[in-house]
């Protein structure tokens, strides 16, 4: 199958899934017992003012009509008005996406750049103690609640050692860099502002580490397991038999084949990062989508919750699609199958 054919087919399959996601999200947010018109009008509003809002936003229409209205809005990029901030949800999200993207990408990078080499090393130096250590470490990493780990990090690295700040994206005294991508690390790098760059990194380090830890543990373990399996294959024997140095055998022949299941784990853990961003952003005062979602949850702001879950889920679905495409680049056997 050609690559573009494959992508086109996957995109087509995406349509019913996206439709289902929107339907499910809409249903969930309409389980909220509160009257949205009253919430939007505020506690002091008169009855006719509430009625006016009900009419204006179409809350008086039947449910299926409201769904169609909502979907028509979504397709235009309109996700409704947030009850707590009173801004359009899409605008709120747009302001907060860069912060979450910065944090999520950093966590993803830690997961891959640290997890894969760790896993490979553990596989190459196979021995029983390391074996058990790897297994226990991975399971412990997965079992650690992110919100608690975040608090422990604050306690240890902020209070006791004073190495890292308790939260936020930058020191109060610093101006955010010129807005290009909205990701402070990238923007300050692009504008050559080294003080801000260092400060942004310094703030990013703790939340990104906490967010990546569970995934890092899984990636390491999967990387190790899959490397061990690949190393028993005939083509590895063949590579060794023709006299290749061990480094070439490992990095050129084994690693690429071992990476396929790792890509699956990474794309699965992206869901963990997106879900984990709620608590991690809350604890580290990171003003991103997760923080917005948490405030939405606390204020029963159902348009905000709907917007956040829609955004995160679509991100997850698209990332999984990208992972499927990545397979075809890594593994020609899938491409020609």
């Amino acid at each position: 199958m050609k690559l573009y054919q494959f992508i086109a087919q996957r995109l087509l399959l995406l349509i019913p899934v996206l439709f289902g996601i929107s339907l499910l999200t809409f249903t969930i947010s309409h389980l909220v017992p509160a009257d949205p018109a009253r919430l939007l009008a505020g506690p002091e509003a008169k009855a006719d003012a509430v009625e006016a809002i009900r009419k204006k936003w179409g809350f008086d229409r039947p449910v299926y009509e409201r769904y169609l209205l909502y979907m028509a809005g979504v397709l235009r990029g309109d996700l409704g008005i947030s009850i707590s901030t009173r801004h359009p949800v899409s605008q709120d999200l747009r302001e907060r996406i860069p912060a979450t993207a910065e944090l999520g990408l950093a966590a993803l990078l830690i997961m891959v750049l640290l997890g894969v080499p760790l896993g490979v090393t553990a596989a190459v130096k196979k021995d029983a103690a390391l074996d058990h250590g790897c297994r226990l470490g991975a399971l412990a990493g997965v079992s650690m609640p992110a919100f608690w780990l975040a608090l422990l990090f604050q306690l240890f690295f902020f209070k006791s050692l004073g190495w890292f700040p308790a939260g936020g994206r930058l020191d109060q005294s610093l101006e955010p860099p010129t807005h290009i991508t909205g990701m402070y690390v990238l923007d300050s790098l692009l504008t050559g502002n080294m003080t801000t760059l260092a400060n942004a990194w310094w703030h990013l380090a703790m939340p990104a580490t906490v967010l990546s830890l569970a995934g890092l543990a899984s990636v390491t373990r999967m990387g190790r397991a899959s490397m061990l399996e690949v190393l028993t294959k005939d083509y590895i024997n063949a590579a060794r038999a023709k006299g290749l140095p061990e480094r070439a055998v490992i990095y050129r022949h084994a690693l690429k084949n071992a990476l396929i299941p790792v890509v699956t784990v990474v794309s699965m853990w992206l869901g963990g990062i997106l879900g984990g961003s709620f608590v991690v952003e809350l604890v580290f005062y990171w003003p991103g989508v997760g923080y917005y979602g948490t405030s939405g949850i606390l204020t029963a702001d159902y348009t905000a919750i709907m917007g956040v879950s829609l955004l995160l889920t679509v991100t997850y679905v698209v990332a999984n699609l990208l992972a499927d495409i990545a397979y075809m680049f890594i593994d020609p056997r899938i491409r020609y199958a």
Binding site: V17, L24, V32, A140, S143, Q154, L282, S309
Partner: protein, 318 residues
């Protein structure tokens, strides 16, 4: 209804006039003989479990959790809900092993008491996901065709969500409370079970003993219930024990975010959240409940991981 081999044998023995004790022994021998492969398999599994220290550790943690939950009132040194404002924010000491919280309640007693809530959450989530997922998966695999396609496509939509995000959105919509949290955690989980059981059913369906059962005239539902589902128990156990850890962690997270358990419940996630404002000076309020969550989830994960090695024969050879 057909009588099992054991029944037939017992009847045969009575006709031959064998004394009652020997009859029981005879039946026992027959039962043993009949189940010999199963027993050998079980013994082999037990040996594998014993050989793997991490699995034993997981089982031990699980056992301790159950014991603590059962005997909680005996272990607790104070009433976990007793507010004593004069004793608030005491650091850990011999009197209060894990200190007291902002309302003067004994943190150690609350953590112990929380094991009951945690076990209940884990069990109810498991029960509800299985009650939805297992029948749907079995029907899907056994019937095939359009029913299968429909169930699986609906499942795909649930699976498209990051699991935690869906649970959070549902909990927020249902409006908090531990029972709503259980529903919110259970619902995103069913497609995992449906998929697992469907896969198992698909392969079991082709076995000869299924054909034999059908040829003997068993109705379809009976074949499914008596012959297909019992063979799915192993993989279900692996999934279930991994899932319990996940469920407990999610419930704690919902409690932490304020859409799970409600104050004054001694739920671990909620306790971590309540201690958060005092973290820097009275660290014990958040740290100890968190340790409890960590150890419990770790126990389930160790157990599930070990069980997978034992139940999945492909993993065994390594």
């Amino acid at each position: 209804m057909t009588a099992s081999k054991g029944d037939l044998d017992r009847q045969g023995n009575t006709e031959a006039g064998v004394a009652p004790p020997a009859k029981a022994q005879g039946a026992m021998t027959v039962w043993l003989g009949e189940h010999q492969p199963g027993i050998r398999e079980m013994k082999h599994s037990l040996r594998l479990i014993r050989r793997n220290h991490l699995t034993v550790a997981g089982l031990a943690i699980f056992a301790v959790l159950i014991l603590v939950a059962i005997f909680a009132p005996l272990i607790e040194r104070y009433d976990p809900y007793d507010v004593k404002m004069r004793e608030r924010l005491r650091p850990p000491s011999l009197e209060h092993l894990a200190g007291t919280d902002a309302m003067g309640r004994d943190v150690f007693s609350r953590v112990i008491h929380g094991s009951r809530i945690t076990l209940r959450v884990g069990f109810l989530v498991l029960l509800s996901t299985s009650l939805i997922g297992v029948p749907l998966g079995a029907i899907s695999g056994y019937m095939g065709g359009r029913t299968d396609a429909l169930i699986m496509r609906v499942g795909d939509i649930f699976l498209a969500f990051p699991r935690l995000v869906l649970a959070l959105a549902m909990a927020a919509a249902l409006g908090g409370g531990i029972n709503n949290a259980i529903i919110a955690i259970a619902i995103p989980g069913w497609p995992w079970y449906a998929r697992l059981i469907r896969g198992m059913t698909l392969s079991i369906r082709e076995e000869q003993y299924i054909e034999a059962a059908r040829a003997a005239g068993s109705p379809e539902w009976r074949v499914l219930l008596r012959h297909v589902l019992p063979n799915c128990i192993g993989p279900w156990m692996v999934q279930a024990s991994m899932d319990m850890g996940w469920a407990i962690m999610s419930a704690a997270m919902l409690g932490f975010l304020g859409v799970g358990a409600t104050p004054p419940e001694a739920e671990w996630g909620l306790m971590v959240a309540e201690g958060r404002n005092y973290l820097l000076d009275q660290w014990w309020m958040s740290v100890f409940p968190g340790v409890a969550i960590f150890i419990t989830v770790l126990g389930y994960n160790l157990m599930g991981d070990g069980l997978r090695d034992i139940i999945d024969p492909r993993m065994r050879q390594r």
